[in-house]
Amino acid sequence: MLTLSLRTPALVLITLLFSGCALFSSHYDATRHQNFTSLKAMHMKLLDDWTKGSGKTWSHQKVDNYCESGDLRFREALAYAESGDADDQTASQAVTILWERFTSNCEFLLSRDKPFSKVFIGELRPEIEQNYDYAISGELARVKD
């Protein structure tokens, strides 16, 4: 009788657990959170340093080197995100979206071979910042262990 009595709640629990496996997202990860804030600072520095009036003398080589170094950091962040992101890929997707923006901004700078204009960066900078802020708020919204 006891075995029979346990069957119903056990069935409910198992059903919930199995349905949960498909629905749930990876949990909060402090390193992933730190990666987002660190990538944000690195990306913002690119925009700030290479805008007209920043005091820096334009150097194609320096921008290229910075972009190469940034590319490696995104590569590392993506590899880390993928390592704990088997269920839903939302963490790696967040990094990928940011990486695409960084690459695009780098290519834009290098193809024009001159710093960003102040008017343009006045529009672009808040957009990039908001993108990172969404990624960070997504990480913070995850279930904490």
């Binding site: 919930l16 949960g20 529009e123 672009l124 997504g138």
Partner: protein, 108 residues
């Protein structure tokens, strides 16, 4: 057995109610946030197009801004998905705790 069944049925009603309430809340907040992002996107595209027409930015800059906005909206949607999954997990765990407590209360 019948006592346990009653408790399970009660739990099921409470569970459904909690889940429904959480989902309705989520849908309303998601709709509101999505509406804000859509409105903001429309305002920005209009502003940037006007800036291009005035010669304040060129065609390449306009394209880069629009692509950046596309990325921001993609990130917003990804974050919405994370929010949804996290809330569903919280609700499901709450329900499992509830069921476990009730079941143990009868069995032990």
């Amino acid at each position: 057995m019948s006592e346990l069944n009653e408790l399970i049925n009660d739990t099921s009603d409470a569970a459904k109610s909690a889940l429904k309430s959480e989902l309705i809340d989520l849908i309303y907040s998601a709709k509101s946030e999505s509406a804000d992002v859509i409105r903001e996107t429309a305002e920005k595209i209009e502003k940037w197009t006007t800036m291009k027409l005035r010669g304040e930015i060129d065609a390449e800059e306009l394209k880069e801004l629009i692509e950046s906005r596309r990325g921001t909206v993609q990130q917003f949607l990804n974050t919405q998905e994370i929010n949804l999954r996290a809330r569903l997990e919280k609700v499901s765990i709450g329900l499992m705790d509830l069921i476990t407590e009730k079941a143990l209360g009868v069995i032990v």
